[in-house]
Amino acid sequence: MSKFKFAMYWAGSCGGCEIAFLEIKDKIIEVDANYEVVFWPVAADFKYKDVEGYEDGSIDVCLFNGCIRNSENEHVARLLRQKSKVLVAFGACATSGGIPGLANLATAQEIKDLVYTQNPSVDNPDRVYPQERYEVPEGVLELPVLYDTVKTLDQVVDVDYYMPGCPPEGHQIAAVLDVVTAALKGEGELPPKGAVIGVAPKTCCEECKRTKSEKKVPGFRRVWEFVPDPEQCLLEQGIICMGPATRAGCGARCTSVGMPCRGCYGPAEGVVDQGAKMLSTVASIIDAPTPEEIAEIAASVPDPVGTFYRFTLPGSLLRRAKV
């Protein structure tokens, strides 16, 4: 039997998703038994030109991690969409923008200025910036164009399935591969298009083992300000924990070691805008006698975008800042 064709690509992201893939452990042997890698820049030496030569729809499954931040990301996203039967948005960046999505608070030029001239550790008196086009005797050198707005994968191409997480957990990656492999072999059916696969429709709180009761807090604290109780819900201790608005799947690993959920699994089932939902939750649990005091405590929450939209700004309702 000929093997199914597998591709994986790394666009605007840190590379953690690529490493997370190895968390499927010995399942990698099964992957090798069932699939032939036809494109995976981290693991195998294929060029874009090779992919361009493939027939449309010839790649059986493509795991695409990273957001769309420059012209190269977009080009490859369109190319892989054309060549793939099943395209999976893999990880927080591809699904909802991820950490790089916070670049939507600025423009590309502001970011370049910061990186190439304004950082205190940068010594660049001639204000030398990388150029998108540069002519040398041998020809023209080109770099991808950095976009002002970071996009999610589905804002650029049609996406079949989503697998959130920063990065996705190994057992979920394995679950996704199982579903797709079974369908390719004709032993099962693919889930409905647009589904979030490999995860349960629950919230992070449901996986968190901490004791939960009524949430009423006099104010908010950060984890470095005190040692949180190891048993009690972090939100009840005044730590902003994204659990209530976040999709389950990680096994609440952060909260089990005393760190609040940052929301990397994205909005819970049925939630449009994770940040808005969490903001609503946080403002609702403030325990103070007057509306004025409640308002004051709510307004003391630092950096609402960075706190509530840490992984989802490009995929949120407003998507970016007006600059």
Partner: protein
């Protein structure tokens, strides 16, 4: 024809107090600008920040949230939650480059037809002074294959 900018304002009015305040303004024949589209909600506490962001996303220039005075909430403390949410939403809007004045919270009772008239008149003029928001243009570049706000909102089940 006047060339002046006519703001589009969405008003979320609690059905127990502010919506009746609006009715009173109407039955008392009080005049106020027609720029606000009222939406009746059961409580100002039912106004999810998602609704406010969706309004801005889809073309609103301003959003008014009006509910019962503190202590008068039909659901005991729904408006206390609103009191906490609005300043935080304003802070969020400010970070995203929206003038926080585009969102306004007011307590309007069923007896305050005149206050309702004053609030809507003032707010309309404030938004007129701020000018159009046009968030569609802000995200225009990000419009792609998916991301239709209607489809996104359809995913959120709203209980009857």
């Amino acid at each position: 024809m006047s060339e002046q900018f006519e703001p589009r304002i969405i008003g979320f009015l609690c059905r127990w107090c502010s919506y009746n305040g609006a009715d009173l303004a109407g039955t008392s024949r009080l005049k106020y600008p027609p720029n606000m589209v009222p939406i009746k909600t059961n409580c100002s506490g039912r106004v999810d920040p998602t609704h406010i962001l969706k309004a801005f996303r889809e073309g609103a220039d301003g959003v008014l949230v009006a509910g019962c005075h503190p202590g008068d909430c039909h659901y005991i403390n729904g408006n206390y939650r609103t009191a906490g949410r609005m300043p935080l939403v304003k802070k969020l809007l400010e970070q995203l480059g929206l003038e926080p004045g585009r969102l306004r919270l007011e307590w309007v009772s069923a007896a305050e037809g005149e206050k309702f008239q004053r609030v809507v008149t003032e707010f309309t003029e404030e938004i007129r002074a701020l000018g159009p928001l046009d968030w569609q243009a802000v995200v225009g570049e990000a419009e792609g294959a998916a991301g239709d706000p209607e489809a996104e909102m359809a995913k959120e089940a709203v209980p009857a």
